[in-house]
């Protein structure tokens, strides 16, 4: 054993002295193993990413050569194309409603599950089921559920004596429909929050109980701060996902009625793959990317106030 460690120490000492292009066998193997990823990264990610930035400065309809037009695409988005503003508005409203609601609902169910219920594994599986399915099939099922005349939702409402709207063809309810649909598949969040809750040390609750704290106080003063890093991470991931929503609106409403569900990705797809405005679509993609980055940055900035990391030392 000792000889092997000596060998390793000697190797790493030599590593520091060798010029960078001299690789030992282990290093050669390492680069060889990572090589496929590097090729894929350059060819399918980095290259296209840079190309996209260049493309966004051109007018290109695929069938004629691209023409450099500077920032005209970006200018057009701001001043000449009201649908861009509409798309960002729709996507933002959807994201800022759906993501916090999903988190709240997820935490709520996780709290109930954490109260040492029997049959936990089974209940958890049931709640997770909707998260396993996605895409076209789910959109089709919800198309039927949200149908104004014979959909399941309006049937349920009529049992309560309420008359439900035509969910997907009413400009006032179409976004609410998508939010509702997103709440169905909250299962992944539940599992994650449950794991977070199980990681909160019991001593904290015991100590608080001794001090006479009730359930409500303990929830806000212990539970929420202790799982806030998980909430934060899920919030960021959830926002990034929600801002890129595509399959649902594409299949269920095609952006309608009257562009009330024109999500950015839908508009981007239309510009790129229906109108073949590759330059304009690229510019749109970059604006969406920057928008997502800015929102994420904003969330991260604000997290200093509400996310608690154990072991973090805070100055006064």
């Amino acid at each position: 054993m000792a000889t092997l460690q000596d060998h390793i120490a000697a190797t790493s000492a030599r590593t520091r002295q060798r010029p960078w292009y001299h690789l030992n066998g282990e290093e050669r193997l390492a680069w060889l193993l990572v090589l496929p990823w590097i090729i894929g990264f350059v060819a399918f990610q980095l290259g296209p990413m840079l190309a996209s930035l260049g493309l966004s400065l051109t007018e290109w309809r695929m069938f004629t050569p691209p023409k450099f037009i500077g920032l005209a695409n970006y200018a057009e988005m701001i001043s000449g194309d009201p649908l861009v503003f509409q798309a960002f508005k729709v996507t933002t409203i959807y994201s800022v409603t759906s993501v916090p609601l999903r988190i709240a609902l997820g935490v709520l169910v996780a709290l109930l599950l954490n109260a040492s219920v029997r049959g936990l594994a089974f209940i958890r599986t049931v709640y997770y089921l909707p998260a396993t399915v996605s895409g076209v099939a789910v959109a089709m099922v919800w198309l039927l559920i949200l149908n104004g005349d014979f959909g399941l939702l309006n049937r349920a409402l009529s049992l309560l004596g309420l008359e439900g709207p035509y969910w997907l063809t009413d400009t006032r309810t179409v976004l609410a429909s998508f939010v509702l649909m997103s709440l169905w598949s909250v299962g992944a969040g539940i599992i994650i929050y449950l794991a977070g809750l199980q990681g909160v040390p019991n001593e904290l609750y015991e100590a608080a109980e001794v001090d006479g704290a009730g359930d409500w106080v303990m929830f806000w003063k212990i539970t929420i701060p202790m799982i806030s890093p998980v909430l934060f991470f899920q919030f960021v991931i959830g926002m990034i996902d929600a801002l890129q929503e595509f399959a649902g609106p594409f299949i269920m409403t095609q952006g309608g009625p009257g562009n009330a569900s024109l999500f950015v990705m839908l508009y981007l797809f239309r510009q790129g793959f229906e109108f073949f405005q590759m330059g304009y679509a690229s510019a749109l993609a970059w604006v969406l990317f920057v928008y997502i980055m800015l929102l994420t940055l904003f969330i991260i900035r604000s997290s200093a106030v509400w996310v608690y990391y154990e072991g973090e030392v805070k100055g006064n």
Binding site: L4, E27, F44, A51, Y127, G135, I192, I251, A281, S282
Partner: protein, 286 residues
């Protein structure tokens, strides 16, 4: 520990609380399951039953024929086969290339390792919408449009950074002494990967496989961009075509949707242990 005597009112409060929790959870479970039941129920109805009020839950008659009808109006058998082919290739490519890279990150000592690993992680932030259009142009130049290559080839070049990350984290938990012992016994470094790390990482590999299957089986946007010929359609594109052409034939649509969900639900059911581990692993530790 101070042993507290639980007074009558406290235990009544606790019983009340637990009853309340079970009721809420049960109601929630019903709401979660209803869309599935509604789908299956509708898939077995006559058109008249679909519109009937009050709601028909157990159709009478049960129209089993909806299933063969739905599957033959469009060539769904072929769509399923196509999707299985793409999914299978993606699974092989992504687990192979991903686990090789993960092995290099977890087990080998090389200069540039940390930098490369940060680079891998940073691609998790790369937005698909930005690379979607240049990728399309690239694959058009390569004359890969209307083939499965754009859907499959990237998987063989590392696949998603997420898989590499998950596998690397798992490999790190395996004791390095096993490697040393194997190397002393004359095993090559590649042999360590193949004979020791991979067999010991079945759980992590299963998680990755399940994630890829779930993702690829239902993927919509990428096939939508690259596949034009109906014969090459995936299940998701087939469903979309169906929905477009037979808008009002809900019973057939629901039959097709049910069939398409069954493999995903089965994979989840049999792999749920790994699956839930994976979700927790990536969601909590970030």
């Amino acid at each position: 520990m101070v042993v507290r005597s639980i007074s009558g009112s406290q235990s009544r409060y606790r019983a009340f609380k637990m009853t309340f929790i079970y009721i809420v959870l049960a109601v929630g479970m019903v709401i979660v399951i209803l869309p599935f039941l509604w789908m299956v129920s509708t898939s077995l109805k006559t058109p008249a039953d679909i519109f009937k009020i009050p709601t028909v839950w157990i159709p009478d008659p049960i129209v089993w024929a909806n299933y063969p009808n739905a599957m033959t109006i469009l060539p769904f058998g072929r769509f399923i086969l196509n999707t299985a082919k793409i999914t299978g290739l993606a699974v092989v490519g992504a687990t192979l290339s991903g686990s090789l890279a993960a092995f290099a990150f977890a087990r080998l000592r090389w200069r540039g390792r940390n930098f490369m690993f940060v680079l891998v992680l940073s691609t998790l932030m790369l937005p698909f919408q930005v690379i979607m259009i240049p990728q399309f142009i690239l694959f058009r130049e390569l004359e890969w449009l209307d083939t499965y290559l754009p859907l499959v080839v990237p998987a063989f070049f590392g696949g998603s950074a997420f898989n590499i990350f998950l596998l690397r984290q798992y490999f790190m938990t395996i004791s390095p002494e096993l490697d040393d012992a194997a190397i002393i016994d004359g095993c090559s470094r590649f042999g360590v990967y193949w004979r020791i790390i991979l067999p010991l990482s079945k759980a992590a590999l299963m998680t990755v496989v399940i994630f890829i299957v779930q993702n690829r089986w239902q993927s919509f946007l990428v096939p939508l961009i690259y596949l034009f010929d109906q014969k090459k359609y995936t299940l998701a594109l087939g469903l979309r075509l169906f929905q477009d052409q037979y808008t009002t034939e809900w019973e057939l649509m629901m039959a097709a949707a049910t069939v398409s969900m069954i493999p995903v639900l089965l994979v989840f059911y049999y792999g749920q242990r790994y699956f839930i581990q994976g979700v927790v692993f990536t969601g909590v530790k970030g």
